[in-house]
Symmetry: C2
Subunit: 195 residues, 2 copies
């Protein structure tokens, strides 16, 4: 998606081989109209595939996910990164290791909002090592729901996330694929020809 | 706002005098179209007051805030609850004590996205003791920006949040005000006549 590539090139910063800062339009400041365009694009790709829920993970996934859910006319469900005191009955939980942040956390979803009749689209901001997405898929499967696909705005195609998810038989759709990065240099993979 | 009152009465659960669970449409599962109606309502109230930024706190505030920001045609800025490795240069930070969760956290905002020419609307899901809102206001003032108001979906009017914010000379706008709660019982205050 050229629009997102342009935005990344004009506003993003490659800190090193692994870290891309897109704080100005995605992770810290968010342009709602731009985010709606991205959500609409994801929804268009999955239109007609019978999706009943969009699931995301707090908190950077919420902005693209809510517009995807709106375009598809379905609810969004936000998976929590730790159990809170308020949300404590009948939970699915799984441990996720985050490479980027060097942390482990408990990914948590209420049993109420995803069930066996659901066909779920996972939406997140980034796909890199796929640890978060894999955790989300585990929770969706604990709920005996089916996974329609994993959609992300930015895929780090030099990381094994896509391979891991596709090996589980699940489609990965990304709006842009980055084939490599180094300090102040970002190379995109052809969107039609994944690495 | 009758629509939100009805939703709270039909889907919310008062756990005790303090905790209202609205997981089915706000904190865990989110209905995007309903959230857009709420965001539009907040935007309508503050229309024409020269707002340049909507600021919220991750993660339950993001859904109403993004639709408010969209309706006002301004960016949303998400304050983070802890410093991350990626977001580490030129930050404003302040400590916030959360009564509900019994925790302290560092509220964090980059110096890049709110500056002295900004007039900022704070949007969040709940207002109770006002600790979070007070922290957000501290960060906005560190940035030498002005605060247009604090808008929340649900105000616990039996808690001192409104008083605390109004004492700082800042308008509080809430879509519904709860005057008291007990297990399975929710009483609303008149919207025109705050407790």
């Amino acid at each position: 998606m050229q629009l997102l590539k342009d935005k990344i090139l004009s506003e993003g910063t490659a800190v090193n081989e692994d870290i891309l800062k897109v704080d100005s339009f995605l992770n810290h400041q968010v342009d709602p109209k731009f985010m709606e365009v991205l959500g609409d694009e994801i929804a268009r790709h999955f239109e007609g595939s019978g999706i009943t829920r969009v699931v995301t993970v707090e908190s950077s996934g919420i902005s693209p996910a809510i517009f995807t859910a709106k375009a598809l006319g379905v609810p969004m469900v936000i998976m929590k990164k730790q159990p809170s005191k308020v949300l404590n009955d009948h939970l699915y939980q799984t441990m996720v290791t985050s490479f980027t942040k060097g942390t482990n956390y408990e990914l948590t979803m209420s049993q109420k909002y995803v069930g066996e009749s659901d066909h779920v689209l996972v939406v997140d901001d980034f796909l890199a090592n796929g640890e978060t997405a894999a955790g989300v898929i585990r929770l969706i499967r604990m709920a005996h729901a089916t996974v329609a696909g994993v959609a992300v705005l930015i895929e780090k195609a030099f990381r094994p996330g896509r391979e891991k998810i596709e090996r589980a038989g699940i489609e990965v759709f990304s709006l842009v694929k980055i084939s490599s990065m180094s300090k102040d240099r970002i190379l995109f993979a052809d969107e039609e020809d994944p690495e």
